[in-house]
């Protein structure tokens, strides 16, 4: 026990480091004010003292604590720190090969940038021929799909299926990182209310006017967004452009129905204002408008969220944005790549920590329409972001991993597959030889979700065992009186 003046200042840190070295300590507990709880403090001491950060703990003592109170707090932290193991550091090589899935705008762009950064890039495209088949700075395989993706960041084993369905062959390759730019499958138009000449796809709107003689042009045109699902900025831009065109070129009344105008991009808000000034009417509906077409025309019923009333709009022609229809979810790629999807079947869960290009697996990135971003400028930015993220990961060539990941006790493991299914990061796999679940240290995020789920209590997170947590709470571990595993 060493008393000291302020521990939160550089002098205090030097003092601690000096004591560690002089006494050849391998663990250190620091008690001080709450300032020492700040992020990075233990790491600073670790660097100065030359002992792992996992062997250092900092506890805050209340300002006017009695010595009994202070002793209690210190005793608890000490008991927990005694139980803390020492973690080895593993150095793993990172493959400098990168896989890009999909050669649409996003995929081709990101592949070019990644190749330009010096990585051996392979681009696969499921429809043949690939647009950049002739590219020289990367290997292009088409038609080719991803059948499975196992392994860890820096060493993902991808099984690729090349050739036409039924006749192709499978190859296995190792990649350091993967970028998925698959695009979206066509929308399920079976749910669309299309009816020729009356209810059409938004993309056909201007062509429709050009094809018809002037006398057949409808007086009022409706454009419908967010028909089943919420659309993005790309759809708002397309709708406002078309609305302005119909208004200004063909001089017809236009009403745009949408759940929300998504204008959060440079120039989009101005475009929206321009449309309003040109006389385009915008109606905000509450979702799922009903469209009925007949010989007399089209009637759209919806709830106007601004007026708070149900309204009916009669028009001669309605144009529905196809992106607002629910796309046939193609879960094959998601399942193959181990990526979780959101409620619309898109390849990125609804979690702000993943934006813009992360997936639930480190080293696997998702960009463009397949993650729900169809707005042009953002698609290109996605491609660039992914290239930089790949570079950030792989340029270090060696990954240093502290071996504090989840550990599975083979005696208790019942191979129930719960941890494999429940790990958000696909860090759990089944070791067929050892007949138990096994945690991939490089993929593990040390969150402890598997620990709580395991029905056999076979998994521990070494820095956060039940014993350590109970010790921190001032209690001995609940004695399961020799809870026998299967030893």
């Amino acid at each position: 026990m060493f008393p000291s003046d302020a521990m939160c200042v550089p002098e205090g840190i030097r003092f601690a480091a000096a004591r560690v070295k002089a006494e050849k300590l391998d663990k250190l507990l620091i008690a001080g004010c709450a300032a020492i709880l700040h992020e990075g403090y233990c790491e600073r001491i670790s660097r100065a003292a030359g002992i792992p950060a996992s062997g250092i703990d900092a506890v805050a003592l209340p300002a006017r604590a009695s010595s009994a109170e202070a002793a209690r707090i210190i005793r608890r932290a000490h008991a927990a720190l005694e139980l803390m193991p020492r973690f080895e550091i593993r150095r793993v090589p990172l493959s400098q090969e990168v896989l890009v899935v999909g050669d649409g705008q996003a995929g081709a762009q990101t592949a070019r940038e990644i190749a330009a950064l010096g990585y051996r890039t392979t681009l696969i495209e499921k429809d043949a021929p690939a647009a950049c088949a002739a590219a020289r700075d990367m290997e292009v395989l088409s038609p080719a799909t991803l059948a499975s993706l196992d392994g860890r960041p820096g060493a993902y084993t991808a099984r690729l299926r090349t050739g036409r369905e039924g006749e192709g062959q499978e190859t296995e390759c190792v990649f350091g990182a993967v970028v998925i730019a698959e695009g979206v499958p066509g929308a399920d138009t079976r749910a669309a209310p299309f009816s020729p000449g009356r209810v059409i796809a938004l993309s056909d709107l201007e062509g429709c006017f050009e094809r018809q003689p002037r006398r057949d042009w409808p007086r009022l045109v409706a454009i419908v967004l967010d028909f089943c699902i919420d659309e993005g900025r790309a759809s708002t831009q397309a709708a406002v452009h078309s609305a302005l065109a119909v208004r200004e070129r063909f001089r017809r009344q236009v009403t745009v129905l949408l759940r929300d105008a998504r204008v959060a991009a440079r120039g989009l808000e101005a475009l929206y204002d321009q449309a309003r000034e040109a006389g385009v009417t915008f109606v905000k509906h509450a979702g799922s408008p009903r469209i009925r077409s007949s010989r007399e025309g089209v009637v759209i019923s919806c709830r106007d969220t601004v007026l708070g009333e149900d309204v009916e709009i009669s028009c001669g022609l309605a144009a529905v944005s196809v992106d607002g229809l629910l796309a046939r979810a193609d879960s094959c790629l998601a399942a193959a790549a181990g990526i979780e999807v959101d409620g619309y079947g898109r390849l990125q869960q609804n979690n702000v920590h993943l934006l813009p290009e992360l997936s639930n697996r480190q080293g696997v990135f998702v960009i463009g329409a397949c993650r729900g971003e169809a707005y042009q400028p953002e698609v290109l930015r996605d491609a660039r972001d992914a290239a930089f993220s790949v570079h950030t990961l792989l340029s270090q060539k060696i990954l240093k991993v502290e071996l504090s990941h989840a550990v599975v006790d083979g005696d208790r493991c019942a191979l129930c597959l719960t941890c494999v299914r429940v790990c958000p990061f696909k860090a759990m796999r089944i070791d067929e030889k050892e007949k138990k679940a096994d945690c991939i240290a490089e993929s593990c995020r040390r969150c402890g979700i598997c620990v709580g789920e395991c029905p056999a209590k076979a998994i521990t997170l070494p820095a956060y065992t039940d014993a350590i947590m109970m010790a921190r709470a001032g209690m001995a571990e609940r004695p399961t009186i020799g809870a026998v595993g299967k030893r």
């Binding site: 004010c33 709450a34 300032a35 709880l37 700040h38 992020e39 805050a60 209340p62 300002a63 006017r64 604590a65 109170e69 209690r72 608890r76 979780e340 869960q349 609804n350 979690n351 702000v352 920590h353 993943l354 639930n360 429940v422 958000p424 990061f425 995020r445 040390r446 969150c447 402890g448 979700i449 620990v451 709580g452 789920e453 209590k457 997170l461 820095a463 956060y464 039940d466 947590m469 109970m470 921190r472 709470a473 001032g474 209690m475 001995a476 609940r478």
Partner: protein, 132 residues
């Protein structure tokens, strides 16, 4: 006569990505002196058995604080924590105890004052409902 629950008896488990960061900003607040806090990697680390064991072994109440559900740093942790805490609360009900001895709150790393209020509210509840 009701005696105040000793603040050291309240166990607070704070997710290191949200609640712990919020706590660090207000750790010097006199109102929180003596509250026993510990850092956990994710609210998803907690498990019903552990929560019940803490109560068995002398904790007056367990407060678990994690990230907002669709904002969990580890994606699923807050959802799992919600289910596990529900199991613990059901067990307390079955045992004839007050299910509110285990509480789960969600807040972000900026919500220092919400954290303080949550902790003090929990302490107040335990004070009002303690039986000895």
């Amino acid at each position: 006569m009701k005696t105040s629950v000793r603040t050291g008896q309240i166990t607070t488990l704070l997710c290191e990505n949200s609640a712990w960061k919020a706590y660090v900003e207000i750790g010097l607040d006199p109102a929180l002196q003596g509250i026993d806090v510990q850092k956990i990697p994710c609210s998803g680390r907690v498990e019903a058995g552990l929560l019940l064991a803490l109560l068995e072994r002398g904790s007056a109440g367990v407060l678990v604080v994690g990230c907002p559900k669709d904002n969990c740093t580890y994606l699923q942790g807050s959802y799992r924590a919600e289910k596990r805490v529900a199991v613990a609360r059901a067990a307390l009900r079955e045992a004839g105890l007050d299910e509110n001895l285990v509480r789960l709150e969600f807040l972000s790393s900026l919500d220092s004052f919400r954290l303080r209020d949550a902790v003090l509210d929990f302490k107040r509840y335990l004070d009002d409902h303690s039986s000895s």
